[in-house]
Symmetry: C2
Subunit: 191 residues, 2 copies
């Protein structure tokens, strides 16, 4: 087994810290220490410092998470079961990380929305990608394009909200309720 | 017109800054400056400093926001129209504050969930109060208690998620989609 290269280790550590604690609380010193990288190497790979590191992390971790959720949805043939299964798996993963690892970009998205426009735009682009991927997925069962888009939007929003409540309560229930509601909403649209 | 007292001004300013920028980015010096309060008065009123100020702000602003949303829901007699109206009003208010003032506790909730247990608990208690109030409201139209609770939970979660996406996109659409989806879900439960 080879260790990931320094750049990848820095980015993975940054992704974990931003996701768990947010942008403002995450210092470059801590990123360097936890990724076992010399402090100077952060500026070597990311000359724009924390801002550039955050932009790349949002883009990379956002895309990766979108693929993960889509793969989860693809893993069960029936769409309504698939939705409940995806939310239940998200609940298991969250519990397994002691309620730390939820959405990779939501904490930063809320923090920076009013103060850091390049980072806000980076989060907005990720959400757009997710909505597009979700619209394509729902489009297989819901012929009306507008309805498929609404379902995709709503699934992402209710997942984000469920992560907030589940982390606050340290309980899986919000995610399970969200999955069930989302499945009911999709059923109503498919009738 | 009399100005609010110093304690209230400190708390209102803290609420605005925590809501917009989060807990880590909000310093006591800035709270003092923006509330026109002497720095020392923060420790006079909140001997526990930023932590205590945040706990009280989460409780107070959380309760106030719950009452506001409930009053919005009460302002339209038909429950399905009322839900769409509440989300549309949230969209208008968000746009009117240049996409800054959404949920008073969500930003802090995500930031502190893994690092500050007293603040995490304070946010969890607010969400519980909201779920209870929402369950009572839905209970008027949905006789099954479990369904009423699911609807209340889901409405809060989809609102939270919509705030994240609307602030990121600087657009009202996510809130309007969320309101429409939530109204459809409530209709399905009432059938």
């Amino acid at each position: 087994m080879t260790l990931p290269d320094t750049r990848t280790r820095i980015q993975d550590t940054a992704a974990t810290l931003f996701r768990r604690n947010g942008y403002a609380s995450t210092g470059l010193k801590r990123i360097a220490a936890e990724s076992s990288a010399p402090f100077g190497s952060i500026y070597h790979f990311f000359p724009g410092g924390k801002q550039q590191l955050a932009e790349e992390t949002i883009r990379t971790a956002g895309r990766e998470y979108g693929r993960l959720v889509l793969a989860l949805l693809e893993s069960v043939p029936d769409p309504l079961e698939s939705i409940e299964h995806a939310f239940a798996t998200a609940a298991e993963n969250l519990a397994a990380t002691d309620y730390a690892d939820a959405c990779p970009i939501a904490t930063v998205a809320l923090e920076v929305a009013s103060t850091n426009d390049p980072l806000r735009l980076a989060t907005a682009r990720v959400f757009d990608e997710w909505v597009q991927a979700g619209t394509d997925w729902f489009g297989r069962w819901v012929p009306d394009a507008e309805s498929a888009r609404s379902l995709a939007y709503t699934m992402i929003m209710v997942l984000e909200g469920a992560f907030i409540l589940a982390r606050a309560a340290r309980a899986p229930d919000p995610l399970l309720v969200a999955g069930h509601s989302m499945s009911q909403l999709a059923r109503a649209a498919m009738d």
